[in-house]
C-alpha cells in the first residue's frame, strides 16, 4: 500500500504545468494577435514575448541549480543533488531555446543569424558549460563523487550568469542593453509578463518532476534496500 502511494504522481507539478500552459496560451495569443507591431521591427518583434521570458527563466533555473549545489555541499542530502540535476537540465533546455529564438529574431532585424558578440558568446558559454555538467553526471558512476563534482562545477560555471547579465554593459555589443518598462511601450507589457509567468510555472512543474525522477534513480543506485542507505553514506 505504501509503495502504491509513492508511485502516484504528485499533484502540484501538474497544476503548475497546467497553469503555465494557460498563461502561455493567453500571453501568446495576446502577443501574436492583439499587441501592435513594433514601429521598426514590425511583426518580427513578437518574438520578444517568448525570447525575453525564456531568458529570465533560463537564468532563474541555473540560479536554482547554483543554490542546490551550495545546499548539497553543506548538508550532503541527495535530495539537493536531484534538484540540482533537474534545475540544470531544464535550464539547459531553456538556454538552448533562447539561442535558437535569438537567432531567428536576429536574422530579419540585425541581418545575421549569429555573431560572436559578448552577449551571444557568454550565453553560448553558459549553455555548453551546463551541458558539460550534465555529461559529467552521465559519466561518473559513483553517486557521491558525481554529486560533489557536479556541485563544485555548478558553482564555478555560475560565474557566467552575472557575466551574461553585465556583458552588454561591460563591452560594446551588437545585442542591445536590457530593456526596462521605460523603454518598452505599455502595449507590450501584458504578453511579456503573462508569458514570463507561464514559462515560470511550466519550468517549476518540470523541475519538480525531473527532481523526482533523479531521486527515484538515487534510491535505486545508492540504496537498493532502503536500510542500506546509512552504510552507503558511510562508505563515502
Amino acid at each position: 500500500m505504501h509503495e502504491t502511494a509513492n508511485n502516484r504522481y504528485p499533484v502540484l507539478p501538474f497544476i503548475l504545468i497546467g497553469l503555465g500552459v494557460l498563461c502561455l496560451a493567453f500571453g501568446s495569443y495576446f502577443g501574436l494577435f492583439v499587441a501592435p507591431p513594433e514601429r521598426y521591427m514590425g511583426e518580427v518583434q513578437r518574438i520578444m514575448y517568448v525570447h525575453v521570458p525564456t531568458a529570465w527563466n533560463a537564468l532563474l533555473a541555473i540560479t536554482f541549480a547554483f543554490v542546490c549545489a551550495i545546499v548539497f555541499l553543506f548538508n550532503g542530502n541527495f535530495k539537493w543533488d536531484a534538484r540540482l540535476e533537474a534545475g540544470i537540465e531544464v535550464g539547459v533546455l531553456l538556454a538552448f531555446l533562447l539561442c535558437v529564438q535569438g537567432a531567428i529574431w536576429a536574422k530579419p532585424t540585425w541581418g545575421v543569424w549569429w555573431d560572436w558578440d559578448p552577449r551571444l558568446t557568454t550565453t553560448a558559454v553558459l549553455l555548453f558549460a551546463f551541458l558539460g555538467i550534465l555529461a559529467l553526471r552521465k559519466f561518473v558512476e559513483d553517486p557521491v563523487k558525481r554529486g560533489i563534482w557536479s556541485a563544485v562545477a555548478t558553482i564555478i560555471a555560475y560565474v557566467d550568469v552575472p557575466i551574461v547579465y553585465f556583458s552588454v554593459r561591460w563591452w560594446n555589443s551588437l545585442h542591445q542593453l536590457q530593456s526596462s518598462p521605460a523603454t518598452v511601450s505599455s502595449q507590450f507589457y501584458i504578453p511579456l509578463r503573462v508569458n514570463a509567468f507561464g514559462i515560470l510555472f511550466l519550468m517549476t512543474g518540470f523541475i519538480m518532476l525531473r527532481a523526482r525522477l533523479a531521486s527515484l534513480r538515487h534510491v535505486n543506485e545508492i540504496a537498493p534496500p532502503p536500510m542500506m542507505a546509512e552504510e552507503a553514506g558511510e562508505l563515502a
Binding site: E3, S28, G42, I47, Q101
Partner: protein
Amino acid sequence: MSGVVQGGMEFVWAAYGITFGALAIYGVTLITRLREQSSRNTSERSGQ
C-alpha cells in the same frame, strides 16, 4: 529603405513553434521517463 521590417511572420511562427514544440516534447519524455523509473523501482524493490 524604409527602415521597417516588412512581413516576417514566418520567423515569428518558427520561434513560437520551436519553443512550444520543444517544451511539449520535453514534458512528454519527462513523464515517460518518470513512469518507467517508478515501475523499475517498484519491481526491483518487490524483488528483494
